[in-house]
Symmetry: C3
Subunit: 347 residues, 3 copies
Amino acid sequence: MTGVPIAPRPLTDLAARHGGVLRNGASGVVRRLVPIDRAAAGDLAPLLSLRYVPDAVGAIGRGAVLLANEELAARDEIANLPAWVHPHAAWTLAELLEVGDAPEDEPVIGEGCRIGPGAVILPRVTIGARVTIGAGAVIGAPGFGFALGRDGSMREIPQLGGVIIEDDVHIGPLCTIACGTLGPTIIRRGAKLDAQVHIGHNCDIGASSIIAAQSGIAGSVTVGRGVMMGGQVGVADHLRIGDGARIAAKSGVIGDIAAGATVAGYPAVERHRWLRGLAELYRIASNRAPTSARAPESLTPPVPSARPTTVPGTWRGATIPPPPSVPPGVRPEAIIRRSEPPSEGEA
Amino acid sequence: MTGVPIAPRPLTDLAARHGGVLRNGASGVVRRLVPIDRAAAGDLAPLLSLRYVPDAVGAIGRGAVLLANEELAARDEIANLPAWVHPHAAWTLAELLEVGDAPEDEPVIGEGCRIGPGAVILPRVTIGARVTIGAGAVIGAPGFGFALGRDGSMREIPQLGGVIIEDDVHIGPLCTIACGTLGPTIIRRGAKLDAQVHIGHNCDIGASSIIAAQSGIAGSVTVGRGVMMGGQVGVADHLRIGDGARIAAKSGVIGDIAAGATVAGYPAVERHRWLRGLAELYRIASNRAPTSARAPESLTPPVPSARPTTVPGTWRGATIPPPPSVPPGVRPEAIIRRSEPPSEGEA
Amino acid sequence: MTGVPIAPRPLTDLAARHGGVLRNGASGVVRRLVPIDRAAAGDLAPLLSLRYVPDAVGAIGRGAVLLANEELAARDEIANLPAWVHPHAAWTLAELLEVGDAPEDEPVIGEGCRIGPGAVILPRVTIGARVTIGAGAVIGAPGFGFALGRDGSMREIPQLGGVIIEDDVHIGPLCTIACGTLGPTIIRRGAKLDAQVHIGHNCDIGASSIIAAQSGIAGSVTVGRGVMMGGQVGVADHLRIGDGARIAAKSGVIGDIAAGATVAGYPAVERHRWLRGLAELYRIASNRAPTSARAPESLTPPVPSARPTTVPGTWRGATIPPPPSVPPGVRPEAIIRRSEPPSEGEA
């Protein structure tokens, strides 16, 4: 269930008690706190991030009331909408949630699950069938959310939305899946997470997506179906990763990724662009190396440089982009190849 | 013990039951599943990665039978070898392992070990003498291995090879050491792993190597003796890191590293090359900064730029490469200096 | 209490027993091992890092005795100071600490704390009031410190300094906070650490600082007040991060950061410089792309490139630097925005 019930109260009462102003005729009785993309009549929908400004009109249309941060509320798209506008809306949200009525339901675990030793499954977590939870994983600990108050003080925002893990999901050892705020963090059917992966609060990880070890997804990210993510990837908050996207290991994603795209680097860009940029960089650096004779700029070789590298620490595909006959350098493919059994590796 | 025993069966039976074709006269009775670099008579050796194609001839020479993925089997080096060729060889391997006969032996722990509270030592793990296992570490959880089937469905590949940790190893708190597939993941004598390190399945970490916190090594990587790895390093799967190599913190290694090399960056290259590339990058960017008068390209200063930087957030060695009198910027050395006691740091 | 008491002994005895030489009239009775920045009469202060050479004169002035590594002791600033000089001073320190007298005090936990299930609080840890310790976090495990001996052998340096966590701190699930060596690792009042953060031994994390998930701080780092650090940041050992500094996600910090600075990249530099460097890189690469007509260098457009990108995987702010009207690309701000409740994210 998305949304946190509160004791029903007229908006005028709430504003009188918690501060802020009612603008453009905002009114009604509030019964629940609900994310803005699903809020309807009787719901109060926080608007605290630029990202969700486009959702505001829809929420109003469904009869919801906005609790908007003052700064955002000044924007043209919002300025004429009915809203409860508050200079510290997140702080107010925290106050409301603290008296919210989200029962601390015991976790529910489906049939055929394997829960590793030391794994911690907290209240408000629902786990489907045939799910693997690795040893020591922590599912449903509060998301990392703090509100700033008037005087710069910080206050924890209660995280009451829980976690839903669908059927056939694999969660590796020592992963952390944070509890959502108003609605659940979701890991969809068949998704596979390697060890030490972190999923922030309110994320929605698509079906059959694969995330390699030590990757971290910040809060409120939506990952599509069949996405493949290498190890140690980072994804900034509130982004959308399209279906079937491939994200090379160690990428830092700071913007939306289109469906089917293959990206690499930090900030993550289309993989070919990243490789070309690197190739240029090392080409230029080689040309200017003070100890080597330097070709005039107009005579520098095209990408990729054909000159043999003499560095002691070479790597497969030292010339960028790597020749087609070897595994390509960046290899989001690696997360597929990881699913292969080893043909060696023991000594 | 490397390899997983199965009920003895003629190869013809296996192919009839699991699909695929026998090519170039492949035959024999299969009694074990064994990694390709050690497989001999009576063994079935999976060939699922390009990386191990060179091992195939040796395995055949020792009397082993190959289970080769169709795609790989088309390669010239393989095309004429006897092999059981299957379009979904990994899936078949998973099927075989599910009825394999690898007893779930209780873990064995040597004398003088210190096992931290909350550490999880799973079956098929063997730990030598005087080993430290940090609190909450997870040793021997199944490696992250999934096979794709005909219809795109995924299936977990059983991980039955266990883990061997030799004498005098140090494993930090909250590390994950994954269980090998057919043979053990190995951490050799005297290796030291800091907190939150992840070691993938089938890795072989060399004696006295040091790996700083939050580094992750993907599956089937061989790390030599005395290797030093900074924090948050990532190493892609199936690579070989030579003896005594030094890998700067946060490097992303996507190719083999020669013995004794010092590398940095992502993709990791020889450290000097990386530094030179960065120096060029910032030099060019400075020259083009729209708010500053710009020198003609032919007059730009050589590397390193001698111009004072005016940025508010400087870092030691802001001019790249750093002058010889300060600790070099990237400092894989840091992981040595970490072993020094603090001379300060308390307030 | 900073410092580890030992059985009182004249320095001459210690040198006779552990090796090394007394130089420039070093003498006195040693009663404690204390970090160099606070050592006074009766204290032995290890000098093992270049970073603390400036502290040596002060320590001598307060009446302390230095235990200096031979290599460092050769430096001009040190050469004339009284000191116990040893070729393997860290090894000697380890020997002394092994017979030190640091009682293994049970952890102390203040009022109103919430300790998550599976969290491990080890001896010598002191926790203030209203502190949250996430599930599975490990507080006070020995820091990662090894000394090299004469023959290349390694020895663990006892870590006896403990951990102090002040009031109102939040430690996320599966964090590791390492125990200090001679004095405590400190997390100051109101600091907030997200999940899977690693804090090395002897660090001092300033009040109200915020560190996002999966960041790692190496040993002996001092972080100021109100610092904001994105996710997956790495900070090398022995550095100082000034008050109010902002460090973008995934940055690799290898030098001191000035108060109030905003840095990004690896190595981390002032954020604008990093963005400008990236812009140049991709601009150059685009110009040289072999499949596109190429403008002469003298006609290349200024930064940022105004040409539309055609890559399939775009990211918000694909043109670098991002236009001012969208959240800037790197967004150390994200760690503030994380403290906002989600306005969406559930499907």
